[in-house]
């Protein structure tokens, strides 16, 4: 147990520009006293690189393009290859059908936040599951 703040990387994999969700969640995370690293548009290599360099506890992915399986799988494979997957919590938010939640969790995503999610729930989930 240290006083170190929880570090969260918020990233938009791919090229889709729907940005409201990512900004709204970023602000909520910062307001909750966590350290926010806002990555913006990043490809999966850049996300993995930033996550390792910044020593983050959580990666939040904002995906509204319908391509959530493709990007998430690529990132998980890369993090596994770099040997850091076990140390980082992956959260997913965006236009993601509830039907896809089970498969995404099986792949290794800690939780998924679809339309209508409350930022307070996201903050609480992180604070409960990351033990510092």
């Amino acid at each position: 147990m240290t006083d170190k703040k929880i570090r969260v990387l918020m990233s938009k994999p791919g090229i889709d520009g729907h940005w409201r969700g990512g900004i709204v969640v970023s602000r909520a995370i910062r307001d909750a006293g966590m350290e926010l690293i806002f990555g913006g548009f990043q490809n999966v290599q850049q996300i993995a690189e930033a996550a390792i360099q910044e020593d983050v506890d959580v990666i939040g992915l904002s995906i509204h393009s319908g391509a959530h399986f493709a990007y998430t799988q690529k990132l998980l494979d890369l993090l596994k290859e770099r040997g850091v997957l076990d140390n980082i919590m992956i959260l997913l938010g965006g236009v993601i059908p509830a039907k896809d939640f089970a498969k995404l969790k099986e792949m290794g995503v800690a939780n998924i936040y679809g339309p209508g999610s409350m930022t307070s729930d996201i903050v609480e989930f992180i604070q409960t599951h990351i033990k510092k």
Binding site: D16, P97, P115, G116
Partner: protein, 557 residues
């Protein structure tokens, strides 16, 4: 508008009534509009200010409050135009025909993220998104496939691309039409070409800086309308809808579109054109959001503001220059993934707002749009929703039916006044490209995002199924999935094109484009040549990136 003695009598009676009212209890609620205009318990003739001729008038006559045309829906109904595109151009063509057979009266191409950003499917950064959020239109062959067997000489087509990819995608469309034997000077349609959609409505991926986007947008307006290459086309559609969806209010929505329109008009005037040479082809695309009466007042106020702006600021002489015409989309952000069938009700009410407000064309959302692109079934329900309004309700019997409502007329005045003030605020920052590059608009958007989040989280704004009577996220409704093979199909399409085309000839044309970009001349003539010879959207956009640079928007958190 009313006799003084009559109003005096009314004032006395109203005071008496208010005394009685004060003794009654009101429910615990904030009586304000969505944009936080305080609303009184009752409106009477005492709230109506000004002269009927000056403020309201007749349809088809200044100030156009009651509509741009004398006959409005008694002449013909609004155009039913569903924003539609998914997977591949062939699949989108099939959907367009399906909707057309079911009574749709205009087409609108929703493109994918690669087409929006000028990225080819061979680029790994965007490859997983081929066709996932719209139709991929990367080369001229795609435009042939999209419009096969569709009467584009009779039905208008909206191409929803923005300034960065407007020239390549639209020139592909015009070249395709020419090759099919159509006279492009007769073509009907619209290009969105809206700088704010791809900067604050949606953030750009490797696009050029705003001053160049503004110039590209104006190049297209200039080439189509005053230069008379496609004079019947609407070369721009100022799309308040897209940023309204982020959470800005009705006042800001109109403020953004009018400030943006003025920046474009000023650019064209600087190029030597007269206001009446082009302004009557500029169009607008507004939202139909959750506040029923405020939205109707917004449409009426927008018409009046535009007429004044064109007359007083730009001294337009042609009456058509004063007519504000607009497309409406119902509010996607009001839809929920919880209890998706309720979305049909929301959309019907919002569609009715647009029609009571006198829109020229309407997109109604599908009930599944909170979770995926519309399925065929959901798109048909959306189309039928507009048809219920047009064919079953008889609301088209008379023009501007809510005019004369004390509340509506008062609210129209109130919205108008607030929009003028907000426009002044934007114009103090500068032209629309300055408002972007300085980050001012990003801060306005950011503040709107958070305001809406707080309103939803503290229940000030109701979303049934989410913050009132909450239910779990729906797992019942079918999820429409786009074609997983789209990447392969589109890569093949591009490969075949590249094998077929004369690369040496194309290189020379692209060199000329480089030169045109360096000199900041109108890009359209040379982009027409390039796409005819088989240049892809990315190949054109890469030259913009090379000459104009790539812009990182100053996002605010």
């Amino acid at each position: 508008m009313f006799d003084k003695n009559y109003l005096y009598k009314l004032e006395l009676k109203k005071q008496e009534w208010e005394e009685k009212y004060k003794k009654l209890k009101e429910k615990d609620a904030k009586f304000v509009t969505d944009s936080e205009i305080p609303i009184k318990q009752l409106y009477t003739p005492l709230d109506i200010k000004g002269d009927y001729f000056e403020k309201v008038g007749f349809p088809g006559e200044p100030p156009y409050t009651r509509g741009p045309y004398p006959n409005m829906y008694r002449g013909r109904n609004w155009t039913m135009r569903l924003f539609s595109g998914h997977g591949t151009p062939e699949e989108t063509n099939k959907r367009w025909k399906y909707l057309y057979e079911n009574g749709e009266t205009g087409f609108s191409a929703a493109v994918d993220a690669l087409t929006f950003n000028g990225i080819d499917p061979t680029n790994p950064d965007g490859a997983p998104e081929v066709g996932t959020s719209g139709v991929p239109l990367y080369c001229i062959d795609s435009l042939f496939a999209l419009t096969e067997d569709i009467p584009i000489d009779k039905v208008s087509v909206a191409l929803v691309v923005e300034p960065f990819t407007c020239a390549p995608v639209c020139s592909m469309y015009f070249n395709m039409a020419k090759m099919r034997g159509y006279d492009i000077s007769q073509l009907l349609g619209t290009t969105q070409n809206d700088i704010l959609t791809m900067t604050v409505g949606y953030i750009p991926y490797k696009n050029s800086p705003p001053n160049h986007l503004l110039r590209l947008a104006c190049d297209f307006i200039e080439w189509t309308v005053p230069m008379k290459n496609v004079p019947k086309w609407h070369p721009i559609n100022f799309t308040g809808y897209n940023y309204r969806e982020g959470g800005i209010d009705a006042i800001q929505e109109l403020g953004f579109v009018f400030a943006s329109a003025c920046s474009h008009i000023d650019n064209l005037i600087e190029r030597g054109w007269k206001i009446d040479d082009f302004v009557n082809r500029l169009a607008f695309h507004l939202a139909a959001h959750k506040d029923f009466f405020e939205e109707i007042a917004k449409y009426r106020a927008a018409r009046r503001i535009w007429a004044k702006l064109m007359k007083d600021r730009y001294n337009a002489q042609d009456t058509r220059s004063l007519q504000f015409r607009f497309h409406v989309q119902t509010a996607g952000s009001s839809l929920t993934a919880q209890l998706p069938m309720i979305n049909i009700v929301r959309t019907a009410i919002q569609g009715l707002e647009a029609n009571l407000g006198g829109c020229q064309s309407l997109h109604t959302n599908s009930y599944d749009e909170a979770i995926c692109l519309p399925s065929e079934e959901a798109a048909l329900v959306a189309l039928r929703t507009q048809q219920v309004i047009s064919d079953e309700t008889r609301i088209t019997n008379t023009i501007d039916p809510l005019a004369g409502s004390y509340y509506i007329e008062w609210l129209t005045d109130e919205v108008e006044e607030r929009v003028w003030k907000y426009m002044d605020k934007i114009e103090k920052v500068g032209t629309i490209d300055k408002a972007l590059s300085t980050g001012w608009l990003y801060k306005e958007m950011r503040d709107a995002f958070h305001k809406r989040r707080i309103r939803l989280e503290n229940g000030e704004e109701t979303m049934l199924g989410v913050n009132k009577y909450p239910v779990s996220y729906d797992t019942v409704t079918d999820v429409f999935r786009t074609n997983e093979k789209a990447i392969e199909i589109e890569v093949n399409r591009i490969m075949k094109l590249k094998e077929r085309r004369d690369n040496t000839k194309l290189e020379k044309i692209l060199d000329k484009l480089r030169n045109v970009c360096e000199k900041e001349e109108n890009v359209m003539p040379i982009v027409m040549e390039a796409t005819k010879e088989g240049a892809t959207v990315q190949e054109v956009c890469d030259i913009y990136r090379e000459i104009y640079g790539i812009w990182e928007p100053p996002l605010a958190i």
